[in-house]
């Protein structure tokens, strides 16, 4: 089964939120076994899924030693997602680990691909914003590259860069999907950007997620949005997104 990777050339667009909620959505609605992997040194993914703030465990410390990854796995009993946190590291150590991966990218992608290979299993990977060693290591092996764009002016540029192959060129077009996040219909600009981008992206647009206070509140409650506020716009948007993704996954097999 597939390896889904949430990326963004830019920070603050809600990548981690999308990854966490997508994982929860796939686990809940599709009864898939989902592993959410955090490659971002911010180590925030776990917090979206009920993780303990004080818990600093993660796979990065033992990146060369796959067998010890199991100790870092945490299952969120609520959503059923298994989380593999990055772990709490100082920046210096993070950079060191990066250089390890740069030398041997297979240390990262091989275990991930192996996890994804087991039947009924989906791996959702959250990545740090912009170019990173971690992302570069797994990029050639991704089954779905889900680019999260904020519905703002900068995204128009970023989309052009992706569409022309300046970034993420390792992933074929058919394996690219886009999510427009933080769409705010209250602003005229938001609407223009959103409709303009939506038209340009066409079929590759996997979903639009509104800017909704419930999203922030859900994080504060450490719950997926669908659990915290199932009737909210964002919950429905995220649900549509996970439906779309799972349809895509079905088309792969």
């Amino acid at each position: 089964m597939p390896l889904i990777c949430c990326v963004s050339p830019k920070g603050g667009v809600g990548k981690t939120m999308i990854a966490a909620n997508l994982a929860a959505g796939l686990a809940k609605n599709r009864h898939l076994e989902v592993i959410a992997v955090d490659l971002d040194p911010q180590n925030m993914l776990r917090l979206h899924l009920g993780g303990d703030v004080a818990d600093g465990h993660g796979f990065v410390k033992s990146v060369g030693n796959i067998e010890s990854w199991g100790g870092a796995l945490k299952e969120d009993s609520n959503s059923g997602v298994i989380i593999l946190p990055y772990g709490q590291l100082s920046s210096g150590k993070s950079i060191k680990k990066d250089s390890v991966i740069r030398q041997k990218p297979e240390l990262l992608w091989k275990p991930l691909v192996r996890m994804a290979a087991s039947p009924g299993m989906v791996v959702v990977v959250d990545t740090p914003p912009g170019p990173s060693v971690m992302l570069q290591a797994i990029l050639p092996h991704v089954d779905l590259l889900l680019t999260v764009l904020a519905a703002d002016a900068a995204s128009a540029v970023l989309y052009s860069n992706i569409a022309t192959g300046k970034i993420y060129s390792e992933v074929r077009n058919v394996r690219r999907g886009y999510v427009l996040n933080q769409f705010d219909p209250m602003t005229r600009l938001g609407r223009i950007i959103c409709s303009g981008l939506a038209e340009k992206i066409g079929d590759s647009l996997f979903g639009i997620v509104h800017r909704d206070e419930y999203v922030g509140e859900a994080l504060a409650m450490q719950q997926p949005v669908a659990d915290y506020a199932p009737l909210s716009r964002a919950a429905i948007d995220l649900n549509n997104l996970s439906d779309r993704v799972s349809r895509y996954l079905e088309s792969l097999t």
Binding site: A153, A156, Y159, M186, G196, K200, I201, D212, I236
Partner: protein, 860 residues
């Protein structure tokens, strides 16, 4: 275009229908001949003939096609002419002059009814289902349009809605000019028009009322086409794009009419207990007769929701001013000059129905007066230019307004025997069964089949009876003195605080029913207190039955005048519109609107989110199109009520557009179950309960009546100010290029051009010119596009729209550069798009599948 060509090429007419017309007449005469011969049969034999006719009806009625309808109509006419001949030959008695006069009056009334039956059967031979014609692909070839909104004494709150809706119709803004034609000379109207960028025309005098108002504007504007909306008919966005195709496609078309749809119930629907289960009174005209007229190239102008070609209108000297129904007369004049008219049976505008019976009566008195005026002064059967079917259709429309006198004759005839002992129909019960029952049966059942879901059996009788006593005088006076009469304006929009019986609107019927009731009592007195011969006995109880039916109809007509409470000033439209509700704190909840008006809306909420909403909060309703601001005025268990809040005219226009703009908003106008005569009869009979309905605050009769505004106020300024000197005022509409640009380019351009700015000189694969064209099928993914030089892309606009570049390169797209007015913007729809429901941009939510916009392949 010749009528026969129209039949053959334009429309999917079964070839048989055309050939059938002469056959129709032949068949009719043959059958009539047999009937005359048959009238020498014995009464028993006639009974068998009558039953046979009914059996044939049931056999034919199993087929649902149009040809079967035609045969049924022929059968119905045959049976009715059999009846009429029998009446003339066998049943008239002229023993005294009095009796002769009464008998002839009754037979004339019956002859009139037969004539109308024949005419309407003819009119509805093949109601034309005309579809919208496609506009040219290039919007440069689209015609220029002036939109006229004539107003006289209506409130600004009504007019502004229409004006804003007209200004935001989808049409190239350089080709659309909206004008308020104000005969009320009101300064606030002028200020509103100026603020909204709409044209305002007010003339020095008020000669010839509405017609004069329109003619005055005609001299001042120059659009190729003129769309006319009464100030309370709010068009949807698609009005022009749906209707104007025909003017381009067929240069002989001078006029295109669309239905007048009312989203508020008419007095019959509102005041009768079962009224809402019955189609509105106007449906039979707009759903059946006008499409029927269109087949014969004889659909006519109804004063509003129509488009007229300027050249044609100028050819006949503008809108006709000779009569008070300037609309129909203008159409007649146009057709005399050889112009075609068209009718599109899609409600693309909606208005308020006359909310009180008295106003409805006033309106119909004017129509009757006007139509009879035309009949007298410009009779369609005389004069040049028309083809015979056109003459028949126009005559039918006008003669239809003569119903008042025959109706009254039918109502009161039984009095002649019961009270004055004058036999008007000398026939045995057996003979009556043999002739009258088949006559009624075929009339009712064939009409029911013809009317389908547009008009219910027996309800027409209520409509007519309500008006009859009022129209008698108008009818007589106008027949004798056709030049009399002036225009009056129908008041609309308002509240009725208490239920009350409007004496003004029912007193003649009350008096008449009093007479009938006394006649009935006297009849019973004769029936029981005297020893009657068998003949007299039979006649008495038959007349008692008749008078009971008359009385019942009259009581129903009186019940219509029992005005029920109407609390809301602005009628709510029942809808199911999915929207997202945004709370003050920025939480978004998807939900749907349950009803909506320009005042506010009711929004469904989940019970679990009730705590989220509090009275007085400002919330936003997010639609696919935009956002609307509202204040919560009440919170219920499953829904909350919002009042719209506007900060500017622009917001108000957005509300108007949201409420009235949807092209499919009114597609349900004909969605009533097909007529079943017995059910309709039951609905009518049980509506009598409305007469005895009392509400919590019983409207005491004659007490605290809301004053009815004078229908045709003398020409005085509102407020009774000292009469000012009046001058013509003309304000030209202002163009809002910036706003327009915002809308037009909103779809695609900004993203790409900002991308270019940000990405400096790097080539970006978004050809701007292509973006402007915005092909509806969606631009294919841009991945493989060859990059364009930046210089091209920063000057993206087509040459004739230079302002677009400006708006974009300023780099401040967020600021509301546009003035208050809503963007008059262009969105080009081809018919193909209209046909493909999912690409119909303006109807993001509701399905449009009920509408087929397709054209026959031949004409595409």
């Amino acid at each position: 275009m010749k009528l026969s060509d129209r039949l053959n090429s334009l429309f999917r007419v079964d070839q048989n229908v055309h050939k059938i017309v002469p056959l129709f007449i032949l068949f009719l005469s043959v059958i009539s001949f047999f009937i005359v011969t048959l009238s020498f049969l014995s009464a028993g034999g006639q009974l068998i003939v009558g039953v046979a006719g009914i059996v044939v009806f049931f056999l034919l009625n199993r087929r649902k096609d149009e040809t079967a309808t035609l045969y049924l109509k022929i059968l119905s006419l045959a049976v009715s002419s059999r009846y009429l001949l029998w009446r003339m030959i066998d049943t008239l008695v002229f023993q005294t002059t009095f009796q002769a006069v009464l008998g002839i009056i009754l037979i004339l009334a019956e002859a009139y009814a037969f004539m109308m039956l024949l005419l309407i059967y003819f009119q509805t031979v093949h109601p034309l289902e005309r579809k919208p014609a496609p506009l040219p692909d290039n919007s440069d070839d689209w015609p220029t349009v002036d939109v006229y909104i004539p107003t006289y004494n209506e409130d600004l709150s009504i007019v502004r809605v229409t004006a804003l809706a007209c200004a935001s119709m989808d049409w190239p803004p350089d080709k659309l000019n909206v004008f308020i034609l104000d005969d009320g000379h009101r300064v606030e109207f002028q200020h509103f028009a100026e603020a909204a960028g709409i044209g305002y025309i007010s003339r020095a005098d008020n000669a010839h009322a509405k017609a004069g108002n329109l003619n005055h504007a005609l001299q001042l504007t120059d659009g190729e086409l003129i769309a006319i909306f009464d100030c309370d008919h709010v068009p949807c966005r698609a009005f022009l794009q749906t209707t104007l195709g025909w003017f381009v496609a067929d240069s002989k078309i001078a006029l295109l009419q669309t239905p007048h749809h009312f989203y508020s119930p008419d007095p019959f629907q509102r005041n009768l207990a079962n009224g809402m289960r019955v189609p509105p009174e106007g449906n039979s005209f707009y759903g059946l007769l006008q499409p029927g007229n269109d087949f014969w190239n004889a659909s006519f102008f109804c004063g509003s929701c129509a488009v007229i070609r300027r050249t044609a209108l100028l050819e006949v000297g503008g809108i006709a001013t000779e009569t008070v129904t300037e609309d129909a007369h203008t159409a007649l004049k146009l057709q005399r000059r050889g112009w075609s008219t068209a009718y599109l049976s899609l409600p693309l505008a909606a208005g308020l129905a006359t909310e009180r019976l008295i106003l409805h009566i006033g309106q119909r008195m004017r129509w009757a007066r006007g139509m009879i005026q035309i009949l007298r002064t410009d009779n369609p059967f005389s004069g040049p230019g028309l083809r015979l079917p056109q003459r028949i259709c126009y005559f039918s429309a006008m003669a239809g307004f003569l119903f008042a006198i025959p109706r009254l004759v039918f109502l009161t005839s039984p009095l002649c025997f019961l009270v004055f002992n004058q036999t008007l129909i000398a026939a045995s019960p057996m003979a009556l069964c043999a002739y009258v029952i088949p006559h009624f049966f075929h009339c009712i059942c064939t009409s029911a089949r013809m009317n389908g879901s547009w008009r219910y059996s027996f309800w027409g009788e209520i409509y007519e009876t309500t008006l009859a006593t009022f129209l008698v005088r108008v009818t007589l006076v106008t027949i004798l003195f056709p030049k009399l009469g002036k225009f009056n304006v129908t008041d609309k929009g308002g509240t009725i605080k208490q239920a009350y019986l409007d004496w003004q609107a029912v007193y003649p019927n009350v008096i008449l029913s009093g007479f009938l009731f006394m006649g009935m009592l006297y009849g019973f007195y004769r029936l029981f207190m005297f020893h009657n011969s068998q003949v007299v006995f039979n006649a008495l109880w038959l007349n008692e039955v008749w008078i009971a039916i008359s009385l019942l109809t009259l009581l129903l007509a009186i019940a219509v005048g029992h005005e029920s409470r109407q609390v809301r000033g602005k009628a709510r439209i029942q809808v199911r519109l999915p929207v997202t509700l945004r709370s003050e704190g920025g939480r978004l909840l998807p939900t749907q609107i349950m009803d909506v008006s320009t005042g506010g809306c009711q929004v469904e909420i989940a019970e679990s989110t009730v705590d989220e909403w509090q009275k007085g909060q400002i919330v936003h309703v997010l639609t696919e199109e935009g956002r609307l601001k509202g204040e919560i005025v009440w919170v219920g268990k499953r829904s909350i009520g919002l009042d719209w809040r506007y900060d500017s005219l622009r917001h108000e226009a957005e509300v108007v557009r949201f409420v009235f703009g949807r092209a499919d908003a009114w597609v349900d106008w004909g969605r009533y179950p097909p007529d079943r005569p017995l059910r309709s009869l039951w609905l009518a009979l049980t509506s009598i309960t409305s007469l005895f309905r009392f509400e919590k605050n019983p409207g005491a009769v004659n007490q605290k009546l809301p004053p009815v505004k004078p229908m045709a106020p003398p020409r005085s300024l509102p407020g009774g100010k000292k009469k000012q000197e009046r001058n013509a005022v003309i304000v030209a509409p202002k163009k809002k290029a910036a706003t327009f640009c915002f809308f037009l380019l909103g779809i695609m351009l900004p993203a790409s051009s900002w991308a270019q700015q940000a990405a400096d000189a790097s080539p970006v694969p978004q050809p701007a010119a292509q973006a402007v064209a915005a092909p509806p099928a969606g631009v294919p993914p841009q991945d493989g596009e060859p990059p364009l030089p930046t210089s091209d892309a920063t000057a993206p606009a087509t040459p004739d729209q230079p302002s677009q570049t400006q708006g974009l390169t300023l780099g401040t797209p967020i600021t509301d550069a546009a003035p208050a007015m809503v963007g008059v913007h262009k969105k080009s729809w081809t018919l193909k798009e209209l046909g493909a429901g999912d690409t119909l941009m303006m109807t993001p939510f509701a399905s449009i599948q009920g509408l087929s916009f397709g054209l026959p392949k031949a004409s595409l």
